[in-house]
Subunit: 196 residues, 2 copies
């Protein structure tokens, strides 16, 4: 349709991750069917979130305070869980028995995209090791090529400081079926087999 305002809105929606033209149109038409108040609330909540939320000074996770909730907590274990993105912290927090803190890299080392170690939030991790007397760093980047490479880089960087660097175990996922598990995962699961 030749309505500029509509085309602009559809165009904005296509910028969202995994949203194509068709889905963007659907979202835009839905918004037009909402009341003016509803659309206004939606728009305000966007600007609000962007204005109020910034990085935690310590772990670089999203927060609306100076220091995020997790970092502000007392009696944490001296363990840091390093993740790629803020949403990974959300996933990790579902694991109830982890009582350490987090460190968000905001990316991984990816030479193809021209991202080196200095382009992600690694430097402040080094400072935290000593100031927070960290005993262990769990590098929970994704188990893909870039995630593995980043984990190895961080391990090499931290080992001279005398801190234990670990990585979550890789293997067959709970509830999955061997038939549909890929060969690399199966191989990792076999190598790391445990006596029962």
């Amino acid at each position: 349709m030749q309505i500029d305002a509509l085309n602009r809105l559809i165009n904005e929606f296509t910028k969202l991750p995994a949203v194509g033209k068709k889905t963007a149109e659907r979202y835009a038409y839905f918004l037009l069917s909402c009341t003016e108040d509803e659309v206004h609330n939606f728009a305000t909540s966007m600007i609000d979130a962007k204005t109020k939320i910034h990085y935690c000074k310590i772990c670089a996770n999203f927060t609306d305070k100076e220091i995020c909730e997790v970092c502000a907590r007392q009696n944490k274990e001296p363990i840091i869980c390093v993740v790629k993105e803020p949403k990974d912290v959300e996933s990790m927090q579902k694991v109830r028995d982890f009582n350490g803190s987090y460190h968000v890299l905001h990316g991984v080392i990816n030479p193809l995209e021209g991202k080196g170690p200095n382009d992600i939030n690694i430097r402040s991790l080094l400072t935290r090791i000593s100031t927070e007397q960290i005993k262990e760093v769990i590098v929970a980047t994704n188990p893909d090529v870039e995630g593995e490479a980043t984990a190895i880089y961080i391990a090499n960087l931290l080992k001279p400081l005398g801190v234990k660097v670990t990585r979550p175990a890789q293997g067959v996922a709970m509830g999955s079926e061997l038939e549909y598990t890929d060969a690399v995962t199966l191989q990792k699961a076999l190598t790391a087999r445990r006596e029962i």
Copy 2:
């Protein structure tokens, strides 16, 4: 995460059609990774679209003028294509050889949802038949129970006015396979079979 502004934004995104919690989180985190300007543009385009776009006085399709492009066009054929929603007009416009106008119902008759003929935009269709000297009305509502019922209702309403009421043919879709075509569609395709 216990960040109010973020939770509110995620909540707004879940209101979009077919967007669950997980997708809404993804969208929200994406927005936080954008620059303040980008988020501002997005929010403005929403409010802009909602403020500038309203219903065409004649066909009730979306427009940013008083009368939409299609209705304002000269030398239209005296045919009205009735559709359920504005986005259906978009789909119909891909059919190049239709040179009539449209009429958007903004819904269909759906007793289960308490929607009767007076809750959708039917009345103004009657006025249009005479003022625009319409010869044919194509009722292109979806081929589901509510769409069929609405089509029959409109047909009964318009026939006394001496206007031809038609419905797009139902049958096997181009490029589909008989093996995967449902029985009702096949039956309709057989009933409406044509000599070649």
